[in-house]
Symmetry: C2
Subunit: 262 residues, 2 copies
């Protein structure tokens, strides 16, 4: 049986990939076995990987569903980078920083717009966010060099102590080596190892609203109204009920409760 990938290419269906994604989400062996059995009769030649993803997503429960959907959920914050910048700033706020997004700062040479400006115990940190609209690509050395040069200029002009580069993908080997060498902290998928963006999300239970199962049009409404986190849906449930149809609103709120309850 062949499946159609996002890129339009087709390949032989490999159940191992689906199983591995569930393992990473924290599902038990038993759960995985059950889901694979329920999945099988629904598969057909020419099914898209996206459809398989959605079916699995609906069968996973609560926090596991959140983990399973996180990478795609962050991707859905795009196509512009602004929502990702806000998401990153919310993660760091949970780490004890005061944060402001999209600030103009004087450098020694020129004025810069810094995506997130953060302070904690006298320390002033700048975060530059690089949002990618495709998974599977890596944040390159060019980006790391560019961010470090921006830091050097801002450091002198506005007393910034250290720089962070945050992305929703992984980093190239060069970028990792360079970052370590010059002192540019890299936050990305599993970067730093075991303490990447997915670990921060999990630790603070801060998941993007886009991991919830809903229509694209409802997603757009929520994002346009500054719902970035699942928590925002629960904190402003009244607004959700005003903005979405009754059915959609209740589904989204129930999913949110399930994810944050456990």
């Amino acid at each position: 049986m062949r499946v159609i990938k996002r890129s339009g290419e087709s390949e032989e269906f490999d159940p191992k990939k689906t199983v591995n994604a569930m393992v990473r989400s924290g599902a038990s062996d038993e759960e995985i076995k059950g889901i694979m059995e329920a999945l099988e009769p629904q598969l057909y030649d020419g099914i898209t990987t996206e459809e398989i993803y959605s079916m699995v997503r609906r069968m996973l429960q609560g926090r596991k569903a959140a983990r399973y959907s996180l990478k795609k959920g962050i991707l859905r914050l795009g196509p512009e980078g602004e929502n990702f910048e806000t998401y990153v700033s919310r993660l760091y706020r949970a780490e004890g920083y005061e944060t402001k997004t999209r600030q103009f700062l004087n450098g020694r040479c020129i004025k810069h717009e810094v995506d997130v400006l953060m302070t904690r115990d006298q320390e002033r940190v700048m975060v530059e966010c690089k949002f990618h609209n495709y998974l599977g690509i890596k944040c390159t050395i060019q980006i790391a060099l560019y961010v470090f040069a921006r830091f050097l200029d801002v450091k002198e002009g506005s007393n910034i102590d250290r720089p962070i580069l945050a992305t929703n993908t992984r980093f190239s080997q060069d970028a990792l080596q360079y970052g370590k060498c010059v002192g540019l902290e890299l936050l990305g998928w599993n970067s730093p190892e075991g303490n990447g963006i997915e670990a921060l999300a999990e630790r603070h239970r801060l998941f993007p609203v886009t991991i919830l199962d809903m229509r694209k049009s409802d997603q757009d409404i929520l994002l346009d109204n500054h719902f970035i986190l699942v928590n925002d849906v629960l904190d402003r449930a009244k607004d959700v009920r005003r903005l979405l149809s009754k059915e959609s609103a209740e589904s989204v709120i129930a999913q949110g409760n399930e994810i944050l309850a456990c």
Copy 2:
């Protein structure tokens, strides 16, 4: 009468633009008057700016035709950046540098590929080339920052004294200000003012082979065989005659002679 631009948009024909381009190429008032008169009966509603450009190009003589075609000629060295890197290295060779293209150099932190590595009187200079496939856009501050950070790393690892960023367009205001402030030399269209890439080309009579009037397929053959400059056509006329049809070869060689003679 309306003309169709490269972008597909149409606009009212403005003879001033055509006149100005000829003024910049060094044509006399009389010449311009003659060309505009010859042009007029050939214009029609819906003509492309590209066709007008070609007609004017054919009516201009020698060095003026070269100047008129330079920006577009450099653009035709693409779509990849390699030919532009070679062109830039040939310009600097005329300025007395020894040059090597695409060299791998150790930085303090990582290894870098440097587009042009140059030496002159003990001084070692790196040139990073940024080739744009569209005119009208500007080389951004991101590129300038990135190149400067690369220089800082290579400087320590490989004793590089100073960096140059070369492009085939203009620079953004921020990039110009930053370059001046940190000591990153910017070579581009009319950068430095009055001494940009077009001035270097003119001073040393180094024009890209792509300014000559010929079929795209002939252009591709010449570029694939490492003809980068008009001079290369004259230096290797025998090869040109072997590679192109008799008629094309003689036309190209005659044009080259005319441009370099005056």
